[in-house]
């Protein structure tokens, strides 16, 4: 298990945002990997997310050099090569739909009062590979509550930036831009669902979805969209990019499920980046204890 039960978390278990920012400046020169084991720093973060037994955190190079971010090209190395054109500051996020406090919010305002914590999560790509990533971020639900969603808000729809000048591959038509993803309200409010702003105690690199990205660790990686510019509270299940493109291959839910194969390959096993042998893929990517109840009574081969 990657994190303790959410109810065991307390506010004083996490680092204050301001303190966190100063610390990052102080630590900038240090190797990120060493931080994980560093006692004085690691205390609060490790209390939240002990590295699970048998899971080794992937290297900074792997996490930032092997990405799917089609806005910068379809090759795994393309995002790292091409993403410098992305301007992450200033950054606004539009919040709209079924909520009491819609508006256009500068990123700084969104982050104000959000305590940033570390979460070490497994990431399972629908293509059959996986990594273990030390994210910094905050629970999406805590942000969403601020906008006071109404009872009509049943889903949350997210949009990635659309700007072919900054995201050169958007000049092509590999996907329908902008990239859209969505979660059911209870999935969005789940304490495992994270909005990430950093990894390895560094600002999130552009190729990993700077400045703000979703991380839903029990779903295939493509659900965790990057560089978010719009969050909408909606009544109906939103049309999402890959689902619209190929509904029989990519479901709206896309929960990690070893028993439901992708039409073109099995999902029973995965290659952990850096490992030779394949691992068995775990139901809900190993987070079944926390999230299986969200889908009680649903036929997961139908709602894949």
């Amino acid at each position: 298990m990657l994190i303790k039960k959410p109810q065991q978390l307390t506010e004083n278990a996490v680092t204050d945002w301001g303190l966190y920012q100063r610390r990052r400046e102080f630590l900038r020169g240090m190797a990120g990997v060493a931080l994980l084991g560093a006692g004085w720093f690691g205390q609060p973060a490790l209390a939240v997310s002990p590295r699970p037994a048998g899971d080794t955190t992937n290297s900074w190079e792997d996490i930032t050099g092997y990405n799917n971010f089609y806005e910068f090209g379809t090759g795994k190395g393309d995002p790292a090569r091409n993403a410098q054109t992305l301007q992450t500051s200033p950054w606004d996020v539009v919040v709209d739909g079924q909520c009491a406090r819609p508006g256009k919010y500068p990123l700084e305002d969104l982050l104000k009062g959000m305590s940033i914590e570390e979460r070490i999560y497994r990431l399972r790509c629908v293509e059959g590979w996986s990594m273990v990533i030390p994210w910094q971020g905050f629970e999406l639900g805590r942000l969403l509550k601020r906008f006071e969603p109404t009872s009509q808000a049943r889903y949350v729809r997210f949009e990635t930036l659309l700007d072919p000048k900054q995201m050169p591959a958007q000049q092509g038509d590999v996907l329908d831009w902008p990239y859209v993803e969505g979660l059911r309200m209870d999935e969005a409010m789940h304490p495992l669902t994270l909005l990430a702003t950093g990894l390895y105690d560094k600002t999130l690199p552009n190729q990993n979805g700077a400045p703000l990205r979703l991380v839903v660790p029990w779903k295939y990686g493509f659900k965790s969209l990057k560089s978010i510019v719009r969050i909408s509270f909606v009544e109906e299940e939103p049309e999402t990019t890959w689902n619209r493109l190929s509904p029989e291959e990519y479901g709206f839910y896309s929960n990690v499920n070893p028993e439901v194969p992708h039409p073109r390959w099995s999902q029973a096993r995965e290659r952990r980046i850096g490992e030779f042998n394949k691992r068995n893929t775990l139901m809900f990517n190993g987070y079944a204890d926390q999230v299986a109840s969200l889908y009680a009574g649903m036929d997961l081969s139908l709602y894949f």
């Binding site: 190079e61 792997d62 050099g65 092997y66 379809t74 795994k76 293509e127 590979w129 099995s266 030779f276």
Partner: protein
């Protein structure tokens, strides 16, 4: 054209040793790149995926080069470049064999039940397997002895190369289709299409020639 006559002079009677060596060593470069790349970590975060992809890419590239050499041979009258063609064809087969082996070993770890399921359930795997199986008899009958022994049938047998090419492109296409990016297989499809089109008149002549013969020998 002086370039053409120079090329003809170079290759009309026999393949010069330097050319043979050049093509032979060039064919080993992708293998060398893969081996060194794995050893020295050039291939990024997922080297197994990288070498699997690369071996498939090179199988297809050598297959197209083989067909291209045949076209050039016919158009330019390159005599014994049939030796070079054999080498390119064998490279296509060798890289395809590496590709299949990497799939069986590092993708499936010789889990034959899973492999069987993959072949039954996934058309792109089946297409790839059939492409490889089509190349197998061509590699086995590539020796001069087999050419002599099979005579005219050798040529018919080796038309399987077109099937292998089509299946290989289809295999690549269906794989990339799921990632919404068929730009690469599209290139191979276009090149293969051009090489097949170039052969159409030839095949048509052979076909109409045969039907004339059949008509002539039929009952009056």
């Amino acid at each position: 054209m002086p370039v053409l006559s120079w090329l003809k002079r170079q290759t009309a009677s026999r393949v010069p040793v330097w050319l043979w060596l050049l093509v032979f060593s060039a064919g080993l470069l992708p293998l060398l790149h893969g081996v060194l790349g794995v050893w020295f970590h050039w291939l990024g975060a997922n080297p197994i995926e990288a070498v699997t992809r690369a071996s498939g890419d090179w199988a297809l590239r050598f297959l197209l080069l083989t067909l291209l050499l045949s076209s050039l041979r016919r158009r330019l009258g390159w005599g014994l470049s049939v030796r070079l063609r054999r080498m390119l064809g064998l490279y296509a087969f060798a890289y395809a064999a590496v590709h299949v082996l990497l799939y069986l070993w590092l993708d499936q770890f010789f889990d034959w039940a899973a492999i069987g399921e993959d072949i039954r359930e996934r058309p792109f795997i089946l297409a790839g397997l059939l492409a490889f199986l089509a190349l197998l008899p061509l590699a086995l009958t590539s020796t001069r002895t087999m050419m002599r022994r099979l005579g005219a049938r050798w040529k018919s047998l080796h038309r399987l190369v077109y099937g292998a090419g089509l299946l290989a492109v289809l295999h690549f296409w269906w794989m990339k289709e799921s990632k919404s990016d068929v730009s690469e297989p599209l290139w191979y499809a276009v090149l293969l299409g051009m090489l097949l089109l170039e052969r159409l008149p030839l095949l048509y002549r052979q076909w109409s020639g045969r039907s004339r013969v059949r008509a002539a020998s039929g009952p009056d």
